[in-house]
Symmetry: C2
Subunit: 148 residues, 2 copies
């Protein structure tokens, strides 16, 4: 299956929405993400349900930020996407009869759960607003260059 790229994609979109302010159409977002409007709507639906963005129809409509990026953690975004399945690796089978297989599964699961916990807590440590901080200088340089 194609790799699930919804998390970085919607983060990217949220940053643009914040920068633009005005409503942005799914068509425009589709160009940012190099994909088509229908996929954008599907992917953004969770963010709307979570109350992070609003979508309006008709002329001048599109997607808009409802909540400041300072108040949204990456974990919130991941949850809004429905907490997509994180791992390509999993157990051999559920409820195996063989005790040795149970032990092998349990050990695998333990490592996966530890990894998932760290993934989630890493996401929780950062708001979407903070996301650009490590890149702030590069972005500022680019913008002053552009505005010149």
């Amino acid at each position: 299956m194609p790799t699930d790229s919804r998390l970085p994609r919607v983060l990217h979109v949220l940053l643009h929405l914040d920068q633009i302010g005005d409503p942005v159409t799914s068509e425009q977002i589709g160009q940012m993400l190099a994909t088509n409007p229908a996929l954008v709507r599907r992917t953004m639906a969770g963010l709307r349900e979570a109350g992070f963005v609003a979508s309006t129809k008709g002329h001048g409509g599109g997607w808009q930020l409802l909540k400041p990026l300072e108040e949204i953690t990456l974990a919130d975004v991941y949850a809004a996407l429905g907490s997509p399945h994180l791992f390509a690796v999993g157990q051999s089978s559920d409820n195996p009869a063989c005790l040795l297989e149970q032990a092998a599964n349990a050990a695998t699961l333990q490592a996966l759960e530890a990894a998932r916990d760290v993934f989630q807590s890493e996401l929780a440590r950062m708001t979407v607003a903070e996301l650009v901080k490590p890149h702030a200088e590069t972005i500022k340089a680019f913008q002053s260059n552009r505005d010149r």
Copy 2:
């Protein structure tokens, strides 16, 4: 794609090989894993290259442990499988031009790398021999029941 279950599967097999001692054919292992011999051979190939097991052809042949399970960590097994791709989640695209997309990708990657590091270190903390310890009583009870 079907979930990658090679790690728990080969752990399961190593435990059986240790318990049995004699060579076990791919056919027999296939029955343990509810799959077919060709897949067993493909999956076990990495363990052979790593020197953990040996495979012998002809009558009485099959797969045998070469190294004590006390000397093989789960991380060693994972590496012997070729360190399969761990995540179903990934970045939006490699080398995006957009700086905001770069920032979104970097934040995602940071969380994924932290998770991968924990996964690997969890695997490194345990040998295959230790794997059964949490289940030792259940297994002992089953065996004495069986031998009675």
